[in-house]
């Protein structure tokens, strides 16, 4: 099977059996791999009602057809599971080197099922697959363990780990890899921890079969040339995602003090040039990437190394918690990485707690002695540790996520719990940006920007404009961006360098030998989008329109300062955007895909009984 290995690895952690099965061709034809394969397997293998932390849930670990090949950005993989944080569909994309290594070892996907009695790590050396004892590694931080396993097994092994947060079942625990890359969101690390899997170590020495090697090589090399000659190449490579910090600050999109406003008075201290000059050591790239966005850094102040901060962490553990020293943000980043926490959710929970504290709803005793004012770096570090270790009442509470924490604490604090579907919102303030607000409302994992990033469109078309055109834009982005998660490659060559989308279909054809058009690829992406929607419908009782509700802050409370001061989006406007969206998606008024839509996308047989 050109482009694929032809094998899926299934690991039953309950009884220790390890088997391989043939990669089903029809499934790969319709879902391609990566996020697509993950969604298909999640639907077919994990029943509704499965406890996310229990033996019935599974963790699907999938490269895509482009992973590990010469094509630019071929370094991504997707982790799919039922989310302990939201209770619905979760996937998290991860860069680095692991996706390629899994393909070289000969696997199109790795399925972790059941629960191990004892801590284990999964060892893969080409055809040799073992579950090895990890009890002496339990409790170790992510970097520390990666360093140790590279030492013990050899530098050639690619290592992914969970930290103490995953072991302690913090609901937004992440998976770390390659000294600085994560599968961050939705609690994919939590599921790995619940299964008692501390790490995955892979070495693969095989190649990836290509149908038309000459054409594939030529097309890929042309794409590299296009990237290197791109107008934005130099700036993007020098600064990475941090480059948008200043723009977000000036346009009211930089989350500040728990999204109270979209601009931070001290933001100039954390703009990209300050970052670059003060702590960056190396431009670090994922597999096959010509435009390395990773910025490996060394903070002398805290004597730590970290890959980052990137924009999201700069927002969520910077301006959103009131921190303006880039070295403090780097330290907070490193703590989250080492302990194995998603920096976005951690920042969102801490910011909520800080607002509660400043409003007098939480006191210092409840905060375990921490003075939880915005801008207190030591308190931020202290709370990160307590969350990861579930130490103290507040640490343990925040480990459950902001939705749960606010429901528990009450006293109006739900109003400033900034989440959708239980996932803390990522770093774009949406008081006045209706496309982006819709993007957050409808992203299929919760409030994450990976599926659609539409603020530029808002600025260009009128921030508070409510229109079918804006909904169409969000839908368009929701088909293109996650397509990359299906293909196993990065979207940023297109997003940041404007690399042509015209490459993907011819490259896939040269790789697999199968005729495919760009329209085919988009349809597969739309199929996957509707499948992940149906997973929510089936698995979450009463799922519907209410679950797409925006965080109250943006529809009730004006931004406190900055370019959007005094503005917010009326709730009716948000609902109108949702109406346009459902209509264009072919979903009913409750947001459930109609039978006609499922039929059109070839999903009727698979999910039909659950449609509207």
């Amino acid at each position: 099977m050109n482009g694929y290995t032809g094998r899926i690895l299934r690991v039953n952690l309950s009884d220790g059996t390890i088997t391989t099965e043939r990669t089903p061709r029809e499934v790969m034809r319709d879902y391609l791999g990566g996020r697509g394969l993950g969604a298909y397997l999640l639907w077919t293998e994990v029943p509704a009602g499965a406890d996310p932390l229990g033996p019935e849930n599974k963790l699907f670990i999938s490269p895509g057809p482009l992973s590990g090949t010469l094509f630019p950005g071929a370094g991504k993989m997707d982790f799919t599971t039922r989310s302990p944080l939201t209770g619905g569909y979760a996937d998290a994309s991860m860069g680095g080197m692991l996706t390629a290594e899994i393909k070289y070892a000969g696997y199109d996907s790795i399925i972790l099922e059941g629960v191990s009695d004892e801590p284990v790590y999964l060892y893969i050396d080409d055809d040799t697959v073992e579950l090895r004892d990890a009890s002496e590694y339990w409790g170790m931080g992510s970097f520390a363990l990666e360093e140790r396993l590279k030492d013990e097994l050899g530098e050639a092994f690619q290592i992914a780990t969970i930290g103490p947060a995953g072991e302690n079942l913090v609901k937004y625990a992440c998976i770390n890899h390659d000294f600085g890359r994560q599968a961050g969101r939705g609690g994919v690390g939590t599921v790995m921890g619940a299964k008692n899997v501390k790490a995955i170590a892979v070495r693969g020495t095989g190649g990836i079969p290509i149908a038309d090697v000459d054409t594939f090589t030529r097309l890929s090399r042309e794409a590299y040339r296009e990237c290197k000659e791109a107008d934005g190449f130099k700036a993007w490579t020098r600064y990475g995602t941090m480059i948008v910090t200043s723009w977000c600050d000036k346009n009211g999109a930089l989350p500040t003090r728990n999204f109270q406003s979209g601009s931070f008075e001290d933001a100039a201290d954390i703009y990209a040039p300050v970052f670059r000059h003060s702590i960056v050591v190396t431009d670090k790239g994922c597999f096959g990437c010509p435009s390395p966005c990773g910025k490996y850094s060394h903070s002398k102040k805290h004597d730590i190394y970290v890959e980052g901060p990137e924009y999201e962490t700069n927002g969520m553990l910077g301006s959103d918690v009131g921190l303006s020293d880039i070295e403090d943000i780097a330290k907070a980043n490193q703590l989250c990485d080492e302990l194995g926490l998603d920096t976005i959710s951690a920042g969102g929970c801490i910011a909520w707690a800080m607002e509660c504290y400043e409003k007098g709803i939480l006191d210092q005793e409840q905060a375990d002695g921490l003075d939880l004012r915005f801008g207190n770096a030591e308190a931020t570090f202290g709370l990160i540790e307590r969350i990861a270790k579930r130490q103290g009442w507040l640490g343990n509470l925040l480990a459950e996520g902001v939705k749960h924490a606010a429901a528990e604490v009450g006293q109006g604090s739900e109003k400033w719990a900034v989440h959708v579907k239980g996932m803390e919102q990522s770093a774009y303030d949406t008081h006045s940006a209706t496309s982006m607000l819709l993007a957050y409302m409808t992203a299929d994992v919760g409030a994450h920007h990976n599926r659609a990033w539409a603020i530029t469109y808002d600025i260009a078309e009128g921030r508070d404009e409510v229109s079918p055109k804006k909904a169409a834009k969000v839908i368009e982005l929701q088909h293109i961006r996650p397509l990359m998660d299906v293909l196993g490659c990065c979207r940023l060559q297109w997003v940041e360098l404007d690399m042509s989308l015209d490459h993907y279909a011819p490259v896939m054809k040269a790789l697999t030998g199968v005729e495919i058009s760009w329209e085919d690829l988009l349809q597969i992406s739309e199929r996957v989008w509707n499948l992940t929607r149906m997973i929510w419908v089936r698995d979450v009782e009463g799922f519907g329109r209410e679950w797409d509700a925006p965080a109250p802050r943006f529809v009730e409370e004006p931004a406190a300062s900055g370019p959007t001061e005094g503005q917010f989006t009326p709730a009716e406007a948000a609902q109108q955007m949702l109406d346009y969206y459902y209509d264009q998606r072919g979903w009913d008024e409750n947001g459930i895909p109609t039978p006609e839509t499922l039929e059109r996308l070839g999903l009727a047989d698979l999910v039909g009984a659950h449609s509207s």
């Binding site: 934005g232 130099k234 700036a235 480059i243 703009y271 920007h449 990033w453 600025i459 982005l477």
Partner: protein, 75 residues
Amino acid sequence: MSVTVVPVGGLKGYVGGRDQVEVNSGGTIQELLEQAGIDAALVAAVLREDDELVTVDYRPRAGETLKLIAVMGGG
């Protein structure tokens, strides 16, 4: 006294697709962009010839060439 502004990607549309445009120096980049008819809100950042990143508040000197970095599609 003029400053050369190099719009990138989608920003070219504001100047009829030209690769670069001359503007009078003496104001911030924000002001110069208004002069050139380029929507400053869509400029993510500005790159100087020495690869240093500046914001639209920067006051260029005469003779400088500045590359405008368009906001593309975010993270």
